[in-house]
Amino acid sequence: MSIQKGTLEIKNLSKSFIVDGTPLQVLSNINLKFPSGSFISIVGSSGCGKTTLLRIMLGLETRYEGDALLDGERIEGPGANRGIVFQDHRLLPWLTVGENVAFGLDKLDRKAKKLIVDEHLKLVGLSGFESAYPAQLSGGMAQRVAIARALANKPEILLLDEPLGALDALTRMHMQKELERLWLLEKITMVMVTHDVDEAIYLSDIVVIMSSRPGIIKKIIKIPFARPRDRASSEFMQVKAEILKEFHLGTEYPFAYAI
């Protein structure tokens, strides 16, 4: 059986950095396989190497042991088949919103570009903002533009590095809904790094829990609930407790408290 587009597989992956002359292992023997079209979250405390893992998938980190395979091919560098949304929106401040969205479409002609830009701005609900500058946008709007920019390239897989981390709680919940909507619409694999457990449960099919120093996979939890999910439901709370337990947080409060 041929591998479906957007299948990500990580085999025996290890990675170490050299800090002050001594090697520091950040990822150790990671094995993962994400089915095409699924939404995966990687959660873990700061410094557990989850962002490094994401950067390996993106192709920004190329020196590692083991294999990171996309559709069966080793990832050697960034490519148009993977989109990325960083925590900071990383819009180029000297380009307009429209130009930012078209940033990856440089090879297309103007007409085609405009069509795609319009389509994607509409997708993220920012039609009419194409000539605004990033400095004129709110954080949530800027992050939508960043998502539009990533999607405009038609990637097979979208990598999200704590995409909503810098937003306030309300905007954040709103954007989670938006992400879900986009994921359902685009039907592509999305891999999100986050440390917000609620967010991971709300959005993901699979939650990968990592622990730090060295970064290893502690647990992989499948979330089978139907969407849209209710954050207040008991099943939601149960999964949340299960995840928090991995961080030694679950034990401090009895279940009853959470319920």
Binding site: I18, D20, G21, T22
Partner: protein, 262 residues
């Protein structure tokens, strides 16, 4: 790994020295092969030996000392007044509105342009030379002190006012420390400007001594060795002074990093 680092640093130094050495060799070959007369461009080794000779004879040291004194006085006068004006305009919007337009207009007059006027007002003497240096030092410090004071994040000022900091105490404990990096940048730029203007002042305002005078004597007596010695000396002194100020700046900031509002 440490060794690697040192090796690396040595490598970087070597790369950086390669070009000057190559230029010196080209210079030497160019002159000794007779493409250019040594009267117009003396050999590098002649310049070096003249420099050493003059240094050991002590005369050059005296000239340097006189120049340094002018720079120090001019720099202190210029930066002190620049600091005060910058602080005033930074602290008070009214002061800014009053003085800034005049300041920015007068700032557009090229510094060299002031020399004839200063000489006519104060004569061909030390006062004039020091004033020229001071004007050079004045602008960068004013601008950077102003920018630094104005750029102090509001949150610090708010925090301080919550704790009852007011007036001089607020300036001394909050505003000046927060503006320090910018002010120090101003001092560094001021020093550079002072040095440029010192030589201009010594060339254009007749003097009996100073490193500019060395260049002037060389020029008048058609002694290019002396001119080159003057150039090398001013360069070296400028380099040393810049390093000293940079070190002092680092010491003053003790590695602290401040936020500045854009």
């Amino acid at each position: 790994m440490q060794i690697m680092n040192i090796q690396n640093r040595v490598k970087i130094k070597v790369i950086g020295i390669a070009l000057p050495i190559a230029l010196l060799i080209v210079w030497h070959v160019f002159v000794s092969a007779g493409y250019v007369s040594p009267h117009i461009l003396p050999l590098p080794e002649t310049v070096l030996s003249t420099l050493v000779r003059l240094l050991t004879k002590g005369k050059l040291i005296l000239m340097i000392a006189i120049s340094l004194r002018r720079v120090v006085y001019g720099f202190l006068l210029g930066t002190a007044s620049g600091f005060l004006l910058g602080l005033l305009m930074g602290l008070s919007r009214t002061a800014e509105k009053l003085f800034a337009p005049t300041f920015h207009t007068i700032r557009q007059v090229p510094l060299i342009g002031w020399i004839p006027l200063i000489v006519m007002w104060f004569g061909m003497n030390e006062v004039s030379r020091i004033l020229v240096v001071a004007i050079g030092a004045f602008y960068p410090t004013t601008l950077n002190t102003f920018a630094g004071v104005r750029g102090v994040p509001r949150k610090y000022v708010e925090l301080a006012s919550v704790y009852g900091y007011k007036g001089l105490k607020l300036v001394r404990r909050i505003i000046l420390p927060a503006a320090l990096p910018s002010i120090i940048t101003g001092f560094t730029l001021s020093l550079g400007m002072s040095w440029v203007l010192l030589v201009a002042a010594e060339l254009l305002i007749e003097t009996m001594a100073g490193i500019g005078k060395v260049i002037d004597i060389g020029r008048e007596t058609f002694n290019m060795e002396l001119v080159m010695v003057g150039i090398v000396t001013t360069g070296l002194l400028g380099f040393i002074m810049t390093k000293v100020v940079e070190r002092a700046a680092q010491a003053a900031q003790k590695g602290r990093v401040f936020e500045q509002e854009q």
